[in-house]
Symmetry: C2
Subunit: 332 residues, 2 copies
């Protein structure tokens, strides 16, 4: 199978929304009047972002999901994406499920594959995604990291920490019952981009970011870019781990004992969560609850934004905790 | 040096034209009314698209140049690009010249770095580039592969074949004098994207493509998508090799003898040329010459488009030649 057969067989479909899709030197997108294009790129490398043994269908899903998550964090409506793919060889047994997983999620969000590149090389998946954001009276409706205000509530969508738990099981540092592992594994391998929530939060949230490198690390970007500080309730944060509902912690029943501190580390700095961390004023609590309901997405308040710079951690009794958690850094 | 330091130090600059640049979940681009966005992605892999010994400054230049070449082939004005970079390690000695080469070419074309991704992994450079194409009375001014008409002249810009000659020298299959090698090497390592020519050809060329996989192979895409055939004069094509001016061929004076057939193979199927192949009606010859002059780019007529499908090769005496040349294919 040659390069052009490969594109033809797995990735070329007629353009529906784009002015021109796959097959020329460029694709052409015609943004609607009164809109901006939101653009984001994410690259996934074997051994770094996924294990070589991962199901290619789930990998196709995840490669697009992590990009859609960036659109969600801006409150952008997905439009289209490009796919650049380096492959060791053109292997039908891999390409067929990979493209199915990728295009199934694309179809779910009306997000069209409009172009890209294929080459031989160590497995590397690079997606650039395009979304639409309205501009109302000259003002972009995009959710940015820089808009958090002192007094705002701090929210997280869905669950965090599970992807890291699953990774530790894959790494062999942890052994857990099947039901715990499967809950966590699906969060690692097939995250759900919070696109509907991002759209519902336009005009409500003051700031938003997608949680990919760990909750506290990504919160740090919001605090820095907004010029504010925050207090996070760690007892709220620890409840965000889905797999934790399946077990009693600290009892040693998994062979490897999971201490509360370990759960907390996964929740606060696990990474690979692809949830939305966002802020909104207390006056918007009803609207936030409505946005959660419309988008059928769980939303949890885990703290408050404050004028005093810095990040403070407290438990339910308002007792301060030291911050010993670091965000994931590819080169640290 | 961590991931965010790396971005801050080498790649983050204030946005000038983009509504929002590097540093949020997405970048924001606001296309001007009456325009379309042209989008293209190209991925460069070490050992496949460049040698590990290449000067990082030139690699930075080339990584963007091959993408700008796609915009040129659509007649698009460069606007912005994203960069996704997998690096074995964050090495200042490599990143500093790489980013300088990249951003120097970006500045030359007013093309702004608005976002991307950095990760650890086998060296891989993935750029997605954005350009602007006017839409006049509901009609896109983009140059497409599908517009060639029977009777059109067939043109190539600049020179072709030199990149392949240089690659053969690097591979050790060929030895040539220093002056020949340097001419060819600069074409391999620092190609010039024909952006100005592409812009000047809007409304004049009927079809265009950038020559990256070999002249005849890329011509094949135009013929297929336009539903036409062509005759190419191989004696015209062989004159397109810049390095050939520096030597007498077929005399064996380089240690390895370069036969006319070898020169022809490089011109017709060398690859890595990043020139424009385009078509225009004979009535537009003066306008094509003017576009070449305005853009200070050499343009050579190498054949004609015909209604009869297929590709025919002839020499100056109209004697037919068999087509024995294949385009580069990453998976063939």
């Amino acid at each position: 199978m040659g390069e052009f057969d490969l594109i033809e067989r797995y990735f070329k479909r007629p353009a529906k929304r784009a002015a021109l899709g796959v097959g020329d030197d460029c694709a052409l997108l015609q943004p609607r009047p009164g809109t901006q294009l939101a653009i984001s790129s994410d690259m996934l490398v074997e051994g770094r972002h996924f294990l070589s043994t991962v199901d290619p269908f789930k990998l196709g899903h995840k490669a697009l999901a992590v990009n859609l998550s960036d659109l969600a964090a801006c409150g952008a409506q997905p439009l289209a994406f490009t796919l650049a793919l380096a492959l060791p060889q053109a292997d039908d047994a891999w390409l067929a499920p990979f493209s199915r997983g990728l295009l199934a999620l694309a179809d779910l969000h009306g997000c069209e594959l409009i172009g890209g590149d294929t080459t031989q090389g160590p497995l590397n998946i690079c997606i650039t995604v395009f979304g639409e954001v309205p501009v109302v009276q000259g003002r972009s409706q995009a959710l940015l990291r820089s808009g958090a205000q002192a007094g705002d509530d701090l929210y997280v969508s869905g669950t965090v920490g599970d992807a890291r738990l699953a990774l530790e099981v894959f790494r062999g540092t942890l052994s857990v019952p099947e039901s715990v592992f499967e809950t966590a594994r699906s969060r690692l391998e097939a995250p759900t981009p919070r696109v509907a929530l991002g759209l519902a939060l336009r005009g409500i949230a003051t700031a938003a970011i997608d949680v990919s490198d760990g909750l506290l690390g990504d919160l740090g970007h919001v605090l820095k870019q907004s010029g504010v500080g925050a207090t996070v309730n760690t007892d709220s944060a620890i409840t965000l781990i889905a797999a934790r509902a399946h077990c009693t912690c600290g009892t040693g029943q998994f062979g490897t004992e999971i201490l509360p501190d370990q759960w907390l580390a996964w929740a606060l700095a696990g990474g690979d969560d692809y949830e939305l961390l966002f802020t909104a004023p207390p006056s918007a609590r009803t609207l936030v609850a409505l946005a959660a309901q419309i988008s059928q997405t769980r939303v949890t308040c885990i703290g408050q934004i404050e004028a005093t710079p810095g990040l403070r951690l407290v438990d339910d009794q308002a007792k301060p905790l030291a911050n010993r958690w670091h965000a994931f850094d590819h080169f640290a």
